[in-house]
């Protein structure tokens, strides 16, 4: 599991998660993701290269969103693959953390 971070326009940080967000993947990326969510106030998490997501991965995202909220910031998700999107929807996470079809739409929503 990888985390690739770049600074997008308008001060929005874009973080791409790459790989499987299963137990192993979530545990591998959690330390760096946690640090990121405590340092950046507006974060778009690009899920386009996440091939698998289950509750451990969801937990990592939720903790990140909570960290952002405590900073007065916001975390949103972008471009989930169909099966990952299904997990976000069925778990109800999508009702708490915004999910957008593109990184651009996510960035626009977060800065609106």
């Amino acid at each position: 599991m990888e985390l690739v971070v770049e600074e997008g326009p308008a001060g929005v940080t874009q973080a791409a998660l790459i790989g499987r967000m299963d137990i192993e993947g979530a545990q591998a990326v959690e330390p760096s993701f946690s640090v990121l969510t405590r340092l950046r106030r507006t974060l778009v998490v690009d899920l386009s290269q996440v091939s698998f997501m289950a509750s451990m991965g969801l937990r990592t995202l939720m903790v990140g969103a909570r960290n952002q909220h405590e900073l007065g910031g916001k975390l949103v998700l972008a471009c989930p693959q169909p099966n990952v999107e299904k997990v976000l929807k069925e778990s109800g996470i999508g009702e708490i953390i915004g999910v957008y079809p593109t990184v651009e739409a996510a960035a626009a929503a977060i800065t609106a």
């Binding site: 698998f52 509750s55 451990m56 909570r66 778990s91 109800g92």
Partner: protein, 133 residues
């Protein structure tokens, strides 16, 4: 049915889930169904490792799988204090949801059928996944 023991450690849950994925690979099931199976197996095993208490010295967790082109059946067994996840209430639907607790929702949404029973100190969670007609 093929059988694999699972260590009481999250590090073995990924391995066990991958083992189940390999067992069903030969059944030519749709990608969506195979995904659903992996999600449910990971949830069921992670729940046991993280939350279950053994009745005796060890949890004795195992997973069995059988698959054909009509679908798959996965049975997770253990010797822990029984917890019927098929009857546990789903997380409260409020704006302040807990960080965890979503695994049960996923298992119910992603399987065709869930059944739980306890017999002679051994619990069995049976998950069925049916291919679309």
């Amino acid at each position: 049915m093929r059988h694999r023991s699972v260590a009481d450690d999250l590090s073995d849950v990924s391995g066990a889930t991958a083992w189940v994925a390999r067992q069903v690979a030969g059944a030519d099931l749709a990608e969506d169904l195979r995904y659903n199976i992996e999600v449910c197996v990971e949830e069921a095993l992670a729940n046991l490792v993280e939350h279950a208490r053994p009745l005796g010295d060890v949890k004795d967790i195992a997973v069995c799988v059988d698959a054909d082109r009509d679908g798959a059946t996965v049975v997770v067994t253990d010797r822990c204090v029984p917890f019927d996840s098929t009857r546990a209430p789903p997380p409260a639907d409020s704006g302040a949801r807990p960080v965890g607790g979503r695994g049960l929702r996923l298992m119910r949404a992603f399987s065709s059928e869930l059944a739980y029973r306890t017999c002679d100190g051994r619990n069995e969670l049976t998950m069925r996944f049916r291919s679309p007609a």
